[in-house]
């Protein structure tokens, strides 16, 4: 399909830089943009230090200059704070394990950026995600598929894309391997050819979510009891949000046996620890479901599923539930299913859809 022009989402990293170059090579009119999502002060760092996001903007601008494409920084700091950071804080407070990258893709990249592209008279956006978008004339739908480079596949974080977004998004890296992308970046002399892949959540660069939550809310996380599955108090935890379902290290408990975080109760602010087998559950319920392969789940369906980003898919059966929810029953019990995380369903290399886990089923 011939596009009128593309807005390239340039993060300053190697992937989106190469995506921009590849799109330009296709003869498409390109326009580069970096979304400014936060500044130092809003993530609790001193404004006198060079912000990593500022360095990313410099890198993106450098690559845009080299490609000789127009480039600008779009400021979404208010929207990002309102829709991603505050949700992150809210989900943690409710005892969940949030997934801000998926929220960011959904509310920032694929909606606001596409709108910004259209406002400039461009008809599509380009990102450096590793996944493939294909049109299926038989079903009359746009499909999302895994990247050919299985090690880099990012289809998990894209499950919330709508048909309109899929129809107007190009993912030029979906058929490439990361090593090829780095070689292309070096050949083009991009300043970021050797830059590390981004890790962790961008607005918590040190990975200390507890400290971030304390700074952001201005309140200390309250130490409350660790309990066992029968409700007996085992000790004091350092704030519920510091613990993740399935965590073993850093609990500060000496019980004489391995203990794992297996539940969090936001109402009582308790963290339940137990033996590893207590982590295993057979199913889950998810809400806020988005289907890509069909408008609505017609009935029970055999699928494979991921409940975490870097996880091997597990065979399961999905059932439609009231209110557009889904229920998933795994063939074998699964370890550490965390409410707040996304569950994404696949059929082979195709993403069927996904949703936000609200509950693990025993």
């Amino acid at each position: 399909m011939q596009h009128k022009g593309a807005l390239i989402a340039m993060s300053g990293g190697v992937d989106s830089s190469v995506a921009a170059w590849l799109t330009q090579q296709q003869g498409c009119r390109c326009y580069g943009a970096t979304m400014r999502l936060y500044d130092n002060e809003s993530i609790g760092q001193c404004g006198y230090h060079t912000c990593c996001s500022q360095q990313d903007i410099e890198d993106a601008a450098e690559v845009a200059f080299r490609l000789d494409i127009l480039y600008e920084v779009l400021d979404y700091t208010e929207e990002f704070r309102r829709e991603v950071m505050e949700k992150f804080v809210r989900v943690y407070a409710a005892g969940g394990t949030p997934n801000p990258c998926i929220d960011c893709n959904r509310t920032m990249k694929f909606s606001r950026l596409l709108a910004a592209a259209r406002a400039k008279g461009l008809d599509c956006i380009v990102t450096g995600h590793y996944a493939r978008i294909q049109y299926d004339p038989a079903r009359g739908r746009w499909l999302l598929k895994k990247a050919l480079d299985a090690a880099k596949d990012q289809s998990y974080v894209l499950y919330a894309m709508t048909q309109d977004q899929l129809a107007h998004t190009l993912l030029p890296l979906g058929t490439l391997h990361k090593t090829e992308v780095r070689v292309l970046a070096q050949q083009q002399g991009f300043c970021n050819a050797r830059k590390h892949d981004s890790q962790d959540i961008c607005f918590v660069p040190d990975g200390d979510y507890g400290a971030f939550l304390e700074q952001y809310t201005g309140r200390r996380l309250a130490p409350r009891p660790f309990i066992d599955p029968d409700g007996r108090v085992l000790g004091q935890h350092q704030g519920m949000a510091r613990y993740t379902i399935g965590q073993r290290k850093g609990l500060g408990l000496a019980l004489g046996r391995p203990a794992y975080v297996c539940a969090k109760d936001p109402a009582r602010n308790t963290v339940t620890v137990g033996p590893e087998q207590a982590l295993y559950t057979r199913g889950l319920v998810a809400e806020d479901v988005n289907w890509i392969a069909f408008d609505a789940l017609p009935g029970p369906l055999r699928v494979t599923a991921r409940t975490r980003y870097r996880q091997a898919e597990q065979p399961a059966t999905v059932y439609p539930e009231l209110g557009g929810r889904l229920r998933l029953e795994f063939d074998a019990p699964q370890r550490a299913i965390a409410p707040g995380q996304a569950v994404v369903l696949y059929s082979g290399d195709e993403v069927l859809g996904g949703g936000t886990i609200v509950q693990a089923l025993p």
Partner: protein, 378 residues
């Protein structure tokens, strides 16, 4: 280190530092206090202010002290626009403004004001005919930098003031931050169409953290910082007497020495321009009529930030856009004058002082050649 960024900041004059220390020690009282120590400090502040006012040909009541030119610009732009509870109106700014003017205008735009950019002539000065067309009955404010920080263009402030004066409801703010000590063109004083003038002494060998806003008597100004009445109702807070005294010393020297210093800088500028233009791919963006202290350059095909970083690694301090600007956008000023986005992205600024030596410029050129050779290869 070779320092060629005097438009961002200068080294304080020893006489300025001495004045600061002496004042701080001799008048420790708070000028707002109602006792002997406070009165002594207030009297000294009055003497200092009288003296600054005399240097500038304004009335002492027209001198406001701020934390710097950024605050002075914010106070002028927001304070004039929002005066008397106004919440809407038309504001004209130039593409050459410092961010403390353009961002203040952008903040007002979010709150309901309409902001429009004035057209420039090819030499970077405001197109007076277009200015007259752009002025509307509800235009409340026009801002103009007497000398802009990126290109060094000298604006015809008096002619602009005459045009603005044709609209009695419209006010004119002049940002003289880069003009004081470099040219006398801004030195029109208040009245005759100019309502506010901002500057800060750290651009002319004074101290950081101090700025001045001159505001015409009788001009309504909504304060940014509310508080006790103290010495002025337009800007609350304990007056920084020692900074004001230091500003007086810096200003006196800058005005006295300006012709001789500017002549010296003009010699350096001419030599450097010639040297740079002898090199292929180099473009001088500062127009011929600019102050000699500012020389905006681009090297074809090399991004300004990349060149600045490379020079920095060689121990040479220059800057890309104003020190207060950020992100990867092209220089609005260079874009407005050259009309070439790629050239605007390649632009960076050398700023000279009368203290700059020919040896420093020779070393700079050697570093320049090394950087260019390296960056052209990559």
């Amino acid at each position: 280190m070779i320092y060629l960024d005097y438009s961002a900041g200068t080294l304080a004059d020893p006489a300025v530092l001495e004045r600061f220390c002496q004042t701080e020690q001799r008048w420790p009282g708070n000028p707002n206090s109602a006792h002997a120590a406070g009165r002594a400090a207030r009297d000294e502040l009055a003497r200092v202010t009288q003296s600054i006012a005399a240097l500038l040909g304004v009335a002492p009541a027209e001198v406001l002290y701020t934390s710097g030119a950024s605050e002075a610009n914010n106070l002028a732009v927001k304070g004039v626009a929002r005066a008397n509870g106004r919440t809407a109106g038309h504001i004209l700014i130039t593409p050459l403004e410092h961010p403390s003017v353009s961002a203040a205008a952008a903040a007002l735009q979010k709150q309901g004001f309409a902001v429009e950019q004035l057209a420039l002539l090819p030499d970077g000065t405001v197109d007076l005919a277009r200015l007259r067309q752009s002025l509307r009955p509800h235009t409340v404010l026009v801002t103009v930098p007497a000398v802009d920080s990126e290109l060094g263009v000298i604006q015809p402030v008096q002619a602009i003031a005459r045009a603005v004066q044709e609209r009695p409801a419209c006010r004119l703010h002049v940002d003289a931050t880069q003009a004081v000590g470099k040219t006398d063109v801004w030195f029109a004083g208040l009245g005759d169409g100019v309502d506010t003038i901002s500057f800060s002494p750290h651009k002319f060998y004074g101290l950081n953290g101090s700025g001045v806003l001159l505001h015409r008597r009788g001009l309504e100004l909504e304060p940014l910082i509310h508080g006790g009445a103290g010495t002025t109702r337009y800007r609350s807070g304990t007056p920084a007497l020692a900074l004001a005294a230091a500003a007086e010393t810096a200003l006196r020297t800058a005005l006295e020495q300006q012709p001789a210093r500017t002549q010296q800088v003009r010699r350096l500028n001419s030599w450097l321009r010639q040297e740079l233009l002898a090199r292929p791919g180099v473009r001088i963006n500062s127009p011929a009529g600019a102050v000699p202290h500012i020389l905006n350059v681009s090297v074809q095909g090399i991004k300004g930030t990349a060149f600045q970083r490379a020079l920095d690694a060689e121990g040479v301090c220059v800057s890309v856009r104003s020190a207060c600007a950020s992100d990867g956008a092209p220089s609005q000023a260079v874009l407005a004058v050259s009309g070439d986005a790629r050239n605007a992205l390649a632009a960076w600024r050398i700023s000279l002082s009368h203290r700059t030596t020919l040896e420093e410029l020779e070393q700079f050129l050697a570093a320049f050649d090394r950087c260019r050779a390296r960056l052209a290869q990559s």
